[in-house]
């Protein structure tokens, strides 16, 4: 297991499967009367959120607390950052306070990488979303949700997603969720198709390990899971499509479109959903839609990541360390 989790592309197939298997065991703790494990007792984790987030921050906090870690929440609003403090000074302050790990969300792509490789801080860094770059724990929880739904909680243990056809629809250009998912799903053996209007596809996609289509309707019947992305209005600084209504007509998922999907196929959404835009209420509320499950699975997956990064001896020892050693 690596020391940091910066990008979903850094994970090998075996590491990713190990995280998913560990998450499966973590999920069982949620059914217990005492939802707490002692694995990270005495470790301090700082949630460093430079960008607004509700579900990711709460999800990380729940995961950290279930593993008995001490949690420090840091939001840029109302902190020294709004007074002009740099990332470096913030990091060194945290280091001086003896933080054992940093979970960082930042508006600038590459900020977590910079933090991990700068020498400002020794603690492992977990990327909770940086700009339009990566959101690796989101990709992991999505893969976990797919494996659970498409293979089953028990049948999925030790398995990857080989042969599964995943379609990601929407604002690929601004989406770190899409980038992370393409990387991880490719590693896990799935075939990914991205569907978006040409204006919402980034430049240089030829090197991405996935297919691209502009036509949602022809892709739906060949999908085991369809992931709808939110159109990120806050990042829309140009006219990417004529009207919201037109986008919705061509790339939104409604009941009629859902009927074109295979019987077993699921609808996913990383949230927050904009009902009536990329997804209709009918689809969002159908049992095939896994939005709520994804939230619950987010806690399990993040518990798995935190345990595998921090649960053992000092993570500073080496970079690539075998995870499965003798268990007794």
């Amino acid at each position: 297991m690596m020391r940091h989790l910066i990008s979903a592309a850094d994970l090998t197939r075996d590491e990713a499967v190990l995280i998913l298997d560990t998450a499966e065991e973590m999920a069982r703790v949620a059914d217990r009367p005492i939802k707490k494990l002692p694995a990270l007792r005495g470790r301090t984790i700082c949630n460093l959120f430079f960008e607004d987030s509700t579900r990711t921050r709460i999800s990380f906090e729940a995961a950290e607390k279930r593993l008995s870690a001490d949690v420090i929440n840091f939001a840029a609003k109302g902190s020294s950052v709004s007074k002009g403090e740099s990332l470096k000074d913030t990091a060194q302050t945290l280091e001086a306070m003896g933080v054992d790990a940093v979970v960082i969300r930042h508006g600038a792509s590459g900020a977590p990488y910079r933090l991990a490789n700068s020498g400002w801080i020794d603690a492992p860094v977990i990327n909770a979303g940086d700009g339009t770059h990566q959101h690796p724990t989101q990709a992991l929880l999505d893969a976990f949700t797919m494996r659970r739904r498409l293979l089953g909680p028990d049948a999925g243990i030790g398995q990857d997603l080989s042969g599964k056809r995943i379609t990601v629809v929407g604002d690929i250009l601004h989406s770190r969720v899409a980038r992370s998912n393409v990387d991880l799903l490719h590693t896990l053996g799935a075939q990914v198709t991205l569907v978006a209007p040409p204006t919402l596809l980034p430049v240089g996609m030829d090197s991405w390990p996935c297919d691209v289509s502009y036509d949602l309707d022809s892709t739906l019947p060949k999908s085991d899971a369809v992931m709808m992305l939110r159109v990120q209005r806050e990042r829309m600084n140009a006219a990417f499509f004529p009207t919201e209504r037109e986008y919705s007509r061509r790339y939104g998922l409604d009941g009629d479109r859902m009927a074109k999907m295979p019987e077993h196929a699921i609808v996913m959404h990383p949230g927050p959903m904009v009902r009536g835009m990329e997804i209709t209420a009918e689809v969002a509320d159908s049992p095939r839609c896994t939005v709520i499950e994804q939230v619950a699975n987010g806690v399990h997956t993040r518990m798995a990541v935190l345990y595998l990064l921090l649960g053992g001896n000092e993570p500073a020892v080496s970079h690539a360390r075998p995870v499965e050693s003798e268990s007794k």
């Binding site: 297991m1 065991e25 973590m26 494990l37 649960g311 053992g312 001896n313 003798e326 007794k328």
Partner: protein
């Protein structure tokens, strides 16, 4: 699991039929001490404790004619040496649907050595329920306790030196039933 015991010099101290007889005896002892095993729940400690627990449950069902709840209890995150090794893969914790409250829980493991695994198991139990009592059944007790812990049911007492290794092989995992006693190769002491 116990990779250090793979020397050719390992000599079997229990063979398949011995293990079967030992488990039958332990099953009878459980029924005797629990006066019919009405409220017994068997919890195996992964990996091999789980197989032993399932075998014991089958024997108990033969004796009592009732279904005996059996599950597994992963202790990985409760180990006192968690911080001294790379993170270990987790095993399955499966608690029977009726829970543990007010039941007689019999923990089942293959080898009792330092007692640290059992201490971890008691801590793990604490987070899951409140049994009426907790007992311990092991296939082999090799001595060298480091904590005030003892087994209630012992398959075989095996006096060993710290330079020896005890390896339990079970059909479900290893393709054969045996308890092997070998010489320890140069691996750090205090494992297990």
């Amino acid at each position: 699991m116990d990779s250090s015991a793979h020397s050719d010099a390992a000599r079997p101290v229990l063979e398949g039929p011995d293990i079967a007889r030992v488990l039958t005896r332990i099953a009878h002892e459980i029924v005797e001490r629990a006066k019919g095993a009405d409220d017994v729940v068997l919890l195996g400690i992964p990996t091999r404790g789980v197989f032993l627990a399932r075998r014991l449950a089958a024997k108990l069902e033969e004796i009592t004619g009732r279904k005996i709840p059996v599950g597994s209890l992963d202790i990985t995150m409760y180990r006192d040496d968690l911080r001294m090794h790379p993170p270990r893969a987790l095993a399955r914790t499966e608690i029977p649907s009726d829970g543990l409250d007010g039941r007689l829980v019999v923990l089942v493991d293959d080898v009792l050595f330092s007692g640290r695994t059992i201490r971890a198991a008691l801590d793990a139990l604490n987070d899951i329920g409140r049994p009426r009592a907790v007992q311990l059944a092991v296939l082999v007790d090799r001595g060298h306790r480091e904590l005030p812990i003892r087994a209630d049911y012992v398959g075989k007492n095996l006096p060993t030196s710290l330079r020896e290794t005890v390896k339990v092989q079970l059909d479900e995992e290893d393709g054969r039933d045996a308890v092997l006693l070998g010489e320890k190769q140069a691996s750090p002491a205090g494992e297990r």
